[in-house]
Amino acid sequence: GAGVSQSPSNKVTEKGKDVELRCDPISGHTALYWYRQSLGQGLEFLIYFQGNSAPDKSGLPSDRFSAERTGGSVSTLTIQRTQQEDSAVYLCASSFGRYYEQYFGPGTRLTVT
């Protein structure tokens, strides 16, 4: 497909475990973003990538969160030692660049029990 894909679509994990969320952006899109949406909240910016570098990591909630992007394409968001407050829908988006709209994936629903 031509859209942004994310995997897994749903993830249930126990508190304290690590999780990896994956995002495949649209081919050719240089910018990639991660957001999360907690219940009843708006989209919270986490991090963005321009190519493989992340000029802005200001939204990452704690040092348990990290992200990387390789080959200017796939990105992985890793949450270590998950906590219940990490439960949310994690959304990935990509765009041609800052003057273009972002295309979102369907999200990964993370539930920490």
Partner: protein, 113 residues
């Protein structure tokens, strides 16, 4: 501190009538604004945008108005259709040198047939 606010969590409109969704912001440095539509279990999809140098942008049934002095943005949908029922998010970019978008909490629109 919520820099982008959508004070109406929900709105119901009769089919064929106008839907008006509102958004207020606090940061005068925002230079680009977007509206996204989100259906359940899907990622947000881009709807329409406006640059801070304009006060109106129109695309078919959708028009976005920007009042910079009031720091207010609105989306008009005319005529409203049942398929427009979704959650609408406004978003603002915090300056031309950044990719970072700040999203509101969303307004759930229900168009009644």
């Amino acid at each position: 501190d919520q820099q982008v606010k959508q004070n109406s969590p929900s709105l119901s409109v009769q089919e064929g009538r106008i839907s008006i969704l509102n958004c207020d912001y606090t940061n005068s440095m925002f230079d680009y604004f977007l509206w996204y539509k989100k259906y359940p279990a899907e990622g947000p999809t881009f709807l329409i945008s406006i640059s801070s140098i304009k006060d109106k942008n129109e695309d078919g049934r959708f028009t976005v108005f920007l009042n910079k002095s009031a720091k207010h943005l609105s989306l008009h949908i005319v005529p409203s259709q049942p398929g427009d029922s979704a959650v609408y998010f406004c978003a603002a970019r915090s300056g031309s040198g950044t990719y970072k978008y700040i999203f509101g909490t969303g307004t759930r629109l229900k168009v009644l047939a």
